[in-house]
């Protein structure tokens, strides 16, 4: 199914990505490389396009221009030729679903399936997408829930869990698919302040285990601690990117300085 993939290809490579919502031009040429096994934190004011950029990676949004590759494989399209000229063919929704299966995603509002228990949530995709047996998926789901510290909550429904616990179930649900990369879309923004720490703790452990992560967040402390690369976005473009010591500690761009002055 995949295009020529080399082990040297970066985990994510966005090249000149544009996105329009109707007339609103929300991404204006985003170039981003996420090397394998690194953590990229995306910062920026509301409406800067960082969540949209993240959602483009796993095709929840269709891009208008440019290209996105995950491990060298073009997302959403197949490259071919018609009449000798290189042409893009849009993939069928079923093929896009296959591409998404290896990109895990965690949402701001958790989006757990409310009619399933924590265990049911984590088992669902391995059974329905990977075709694992229930027994196998169950065992793996229990491991994942234990990994996020919820071994004693497996039979609870989402409504019976705190926000922090729900978000940890959501992380376990994504991990159960054995993703190559995890995307986090403001994973702590909907949480009460006292519950933020437990989710960030799980994410810290995940980063330490070598998972490639792209995190949209406002948690500067987390970025400082975990990020290999910080990306600052404003008005649909990446204004500044580099290591923490550069973007957060010594930003050169005025917009980055203004933003950090507000949040720090």
């Amino acid at each position: 199914m995949s295009a020529p993939t080399t082990s040297t290809a970066p985990m994510v490579e966005m090249t000149g990505v544009h996105k329009w919502f109707g007339h609103a031009h929300v991404l204006r040429g985003v170039d981003l490389v996420v090397p394998r096994g690194t953590v990229t934190v995306m910062l920026g004011p509301s409406g800067s396009g960082k969540s949209t950029a993240l959602r483009c990676i796993n095709q929840l949004e269709e891009i208008g221009a440019g290209s996105i590759r995950v491990e060298g494989e073009l997302m959403g399209y197949r490259e071919g030729a018609r009449g000798g000229a290189p042409t893009l063919y849009r993939l069928h929704p079923r093929q896009i679903a296959v591409q998404r299966a290896r990109v895990g995603m965690v949402f701001q509002r958790f989006n757990l399936f409310p009619h399933m228990t924590a265990l049911g949530n984590v088992m669902e995709a391995p059974v329905q997408v990977l075709g694992k047996s229930k027994a196998e998926a169950r065992e793996r789901a229990l491991q994942m829930l234990a990994r996020v510290g919820l071994a004693d909550r497996v039979d609870h429904y989402p409504a019976q869990l705190s926000g922090g616990q729900q978000q940890r179930v959501a992380i376990a649900r994504a991990l159960a698919m054995d993703p190559d990369i995890m995307l986090f879309d403001e994973p702590t923004s909907a949480l009460d302040p006292e519950l933020v720490g437990e989710v960030l703790g799980v994410m810290r452990d995940l980063a330490a285990s070598g998972m490639t992560m792209v995190v949209v967040t406002h948690e500067i402390g987390f970025a400082r601690e975990v990020a290999d690369q910080v990306v600052f976005m404003a008005d649909g473009v990446i204004v500044e990117h580099g290591p923490v010591s550069q973007v957060i500690d010594a930003p050169t761009e005025q917009r980055t300085q203004d933003f950090l002055a507000h949040v720090l």
């Binding site: 403001e186 302040p193 960030l200 987390f222």
Partner: protein, 330 residues
Amino acid sequence: MTTPTAAKTPAAEPQRIHAVPVRYPGRWISAAVVVVLAAMAVNALVTNDTFAWPTVGKYLFSQPVVRGVGWTLFLTVTSMLIAIVLAVTLAIMRRSANPVMRYVSWVYIWFFRGTPIYTQLIFWGLASVLYPVITLGVPFGPELLSMDTNVVLNATRAAILGLALNEAAYLAEIVRAGLQSVDRGQFEAARALGMKEGRILWRVVLPQAMRVIVPPTGNETISMLKTTSLVLAVPFTLELQYATNAIGNRTFQPVPLLMVAAIWYLAITSVLMVGQYYVERYYGRGFEEHVPKKAARNSRRGRQAAINAAHTTPELGPIDDMGRPAGGGV
């Protein structure tokens, strides 16, 4: 001055308030009015000989009436089952990316909701007159299969088909409303996990939509119970209303037999309502308002325990005073 005292000796049991409760005389007055009205109603029913209660008792469990109840239940259940399957299909078609499916579904609902059920039932009954033979084949081409309409579409099948096709149009709108009620985030989460559209619908969206779909469907089932009395238009003449009417006309006692029918309809409706309660409870699982009270208490307690156990508050130091926007990026 009990408060300062209590503060000095915290171990002492606080003195409970024993206040005189508010009186609600309106409740007693309304209760009295209702009791009087109910007594009047019972009196009016019992003392009026026209109701002929002994006759009601005589026919309530008579063979044609009980058989009528059986047929009415059969028509209701069968046509509702067919209607539900068809309605889910129509509702999914209305949301399809395929414009042909959307259009076909729209036209179906437009037609079957827009014409009277009685007329539809007459036409299903007339089908064997209008088209005595049903043939399957290539239009304007060879004939592959031919059937006698009278055999294929007998009165029972015509009645069930007529009721089901009409009901499906109404139910389709109910199902559509249910599907629309499911949060968009549910689709996104399922998509992000790599689930295909059909699976998302079946495993994630429809089970949640059922919570919205079940109550009005229960309503429709009860409505269908009584709509079955219209199948005399087919004509189908074995169900409850027709059976009791026939006895009433034959014995010149229409009123007691109307009462017989009404009692049965009311009894069946009561049973259906009990069934609906359990179906609603099943599809409400995982939603807090349906969690039994005790479990809800436990969940709050568990939540607080989880917050305490997490020991997260100290870690918040540097981030604590930061304004955390609820919305965030696009």
